[in-house]
Amino acid sequence: MAAPLITALEIGTTTIKVLMAEVREDGGLMVAGLGECESRGVRKGEIVDFELALEAVRRAMEAAETVAHKSIGESVYLAASGGRAESLLHIGGIPVLNEYDEPGGEITREDIDQALEVARKIPLSDERIRLHTLQQNFEVDGRGGIVNPERMLAEELRVGMLLIHGQRAVVENLKKLTENVPVVCADAAFGGFCSALAVLTPEQKRAGVIVIDLGGGTTDYIVFNAGLVKLAGSIAVGGDHITADIASGLNLNRRQAEALKKDSGSALINRLQSDQNISIPAEGGFSGRVVRAATLHTIINTRIEEMFKLIADKIEHDGLSGQLNAGVILTGGGTAMEGIADLAQQVFNAPCQIGRIYDCVGLSTKQEGARFAAAIGCVRYAASQIKPADPIRTVWKVWLSKLWGGNHE
């Protein structure tokens, strides 16, 4: 019997992607179906027109089903970009007691479970919704970096939890959209986290790495260090902003600006090209015009550099800038911009590359792959959630998964 087919749905600002894939036993992915549809009614990862967006999702799903020759089934996993995601580190701890209920003793399995539960209880305002709760290393009597504290002697056991939370209204609306398709939304995952799962190897996660997903309406980032997620977030600025900047700076309409960005855009201001002129063809009432490459590249460079700097500032602020030995990995549609990796290298002062999906068969080219990172990662995330095939433990695991990474309210 083949492994179950998992469907991931990514509702982006530019495109809606549906990916159906099997997860083999060794963790490798086998893409069965792929559907893509130009997104409508979505701005900055939020739904602004429900009906249009619903139509687009349905079309993408049909496309995927046609390719796969299979039906999507009942449930999908949602990769929510949604802008405005943030992470919050919360540290909770308990005193460790010995068998006479006196302070100081051997840490037991129960102590660990209790500490984890305390740490998980993170107060969140009503406007926010938790997407992931990710465990950090344990801290025993103030000594950090402990992976498994069981049977250690201690007086206090503390553990950190990194909570990734998004805007409730945005995520709920995305879920509601899938339910109107109609399919069940099994879980919603943070898009940036998914992208990281798709492109990062365990070595990179250990060495320290930033993954930046450059979407159409949002830019997600996530920072790994020592194998754990240290920081994550999302800025509601994306490729659409670059297009809007070009449109206003060069006085073009959106479609012309988009075409200009795709054909002649560059994230770097290249001296050799700066004297070049780019002609914009005449059409309709527009009589055609010539713009300077230097102007175009300055507009793009300013926007992307600012975007990277905002992320770099955040990383610096959290004291993580010195711990990124594996550098910067870029994913998402924005990676098609010329020179973007070089610009990221300048801003972050770290090696930078375009992400490549590892251990996955069935995708056409590598470049195509970087665009599908979030969807692929979402399948991988889903597989990690439903892995236990042991029927006896399923109920327990479902409960646990709800606590851990679930989308429970």
Partner: protein, 373 residues
């Protein structure tokens, strides 16, 4: 014929039209003026100017914008034909406009952009509202300037509070005085550029160098003096000019244009004294001067100074992330989002506010980068 450069002085909106209406009757022959508004009434009052352009007739039906800068913007954008007729062939466009209201505030950035499209060098004299006109008017003016600086070559900010004299004087007199301050400067500048009688002509290219390198903001001062010790007194009144007083601009300006007009009795030592005492001591300062003599100026000296607040090569790229100098010193978050015009580019999605900065506004505007042209 084509050797002389075409200079057009354009009054935009209520304040701009009224100011020009006061200046125009005193202007020398050959100086070209135009006024533009969407309000018939304002233009009717400008009897001294022949070239009166009504824009946006379909939008406002000849009435004012009612303080809505969005209407002002659309008025100009919808009148491409009229703008082309007005601006094509113009080499230097000098615009006088009041910011903080409807038409001028909305139209100025569009006019700047169009003028650049027609290849004109642009110099904007912007009259900023009084503090008592309220925070909303101030905010509108500031955001208009931020939008303008991308396309204009130079902006001279003239806060009303500085150019209107203090004290117990009649409103009419106060307006007359402030428009004389501006008028004298404008005419002086025009004379230096256009008059064939100049001894040491301030050529158009020098002005262009100045304007395109001044990183968008300029200070402007002018003064006239007569009689004994006129050189001393002209220097004193320049230093005390309301638009430069207390700014220390003469000590630190990285670039400066000095224009001196005198009668046939102008002496070299006077010129030397004036230039010496006005120019900064810095060796890197870019100074260009022009001297004109005119029999009508017998016994008088008139000096105008245009000083750059910052100096920057017009090309902003240096090949490797060299935009850093342009960013970073910006006053961020100076406007509440309430005052910013809502952009409709991102549907109804919530604005992206990050550390008090509105990221939906194009990055090159917020980072104060002048686009290479």
């Amino acid at each position: 014929m084509s050797e002389t450069k075409k200079i057009l002085v354009l009054g935009l909106g209520g304040a701009g039209c009224n100011t020009l209406a006061r200046i125009a009757p005193r202007a020398p022959e050959g100086m070209e003026f135009a006024v533009m508004d969407c309000d018939f009434q304002t233009l009717e009052n400008c009897t001294a100017i022949e070239n009166r352009v009504v824009v946006g007739k379909a939008l406002t039906d000849g009435m004012s914008t009612g303080g809505d800068l969005e209407v002002g913007r659309r008025c100009v954008e919808s009148s491409t034909g009229q703008m082309e007729a007005l601006l094509s062939g113009v080499d230097l466009l000098i615009v006088i406009t009041g910011l903080g209201g409807g038409f001028g505030t909305g139209a100025a950035p569009v006019v700047a952009r169009m003028a650049r499209g027609f290849g004109a060098t642009t110099l904007f004299f912007t009259i900023l509202p009084f503090p008592f006109e309220g925070i909303v008017a101030q905010g509108k003016a500031h955001s208009a300037i931020r939008r303008m600086r991308t396309y204009t070559d130079a902006i001279v900010e003239m806060p009303n509070a500085l150019i209107q004299p203090d004290g117990d004087i009649l409103l009419e007199e106060s307006l007359e005085r402030s428009s004389r301050i501006l008028g004298a400067g404008l005419i002086g500048l025009w004379r230096l550029l256009a008059c064939p009688g100049s001894v040491c002509n301030l050529d158009f290219t020098s002005l262009h160098t100045m304007l395109s390198s001044c990183d968008a903001f300029c200070r402007f001062a002018c003064a006239t003096a007569t009689g004994e010790g006129r050189a001393d007194s002209v220097i004193d009144s320049l230093l005390a000019h309301p638009l430069v007083k207390g700014s220390g601009i003469f000590e630190k300006a990285p670039g400066m244009i000095i224009g001196i007009t005198g009668g046939e009795d102008l002496k070299l030592c006077e010129v030397q004294q004036i230039v010496d005492s006005l120019t900064p001591k810095s060796e890197t300062c870019w100074v260009k001067m022009g001297i004109a003599t005119d029999p009508a100026f017998a016994g008088r000296i008139s000096v105008i100074v245009l000083a750059a607040e910052a100096w920057k090569e017009p090309m902003v790229d240096d090949g490797h992330g060299g935009l850093k100098s342009a960013a970073g010193n910006g006053k961020q978050g100076e406007l509440s989002s309430l005052l910013k015009p809502r952009s409709k580019s991102f549907g109804d999605a919530e604005r992206t506010i990050w550390n008090g900065e509105d990221l939906d506004v194009p990055a090159y505007i917020r980072r104060k980068i002048k686009l290479p042209r």
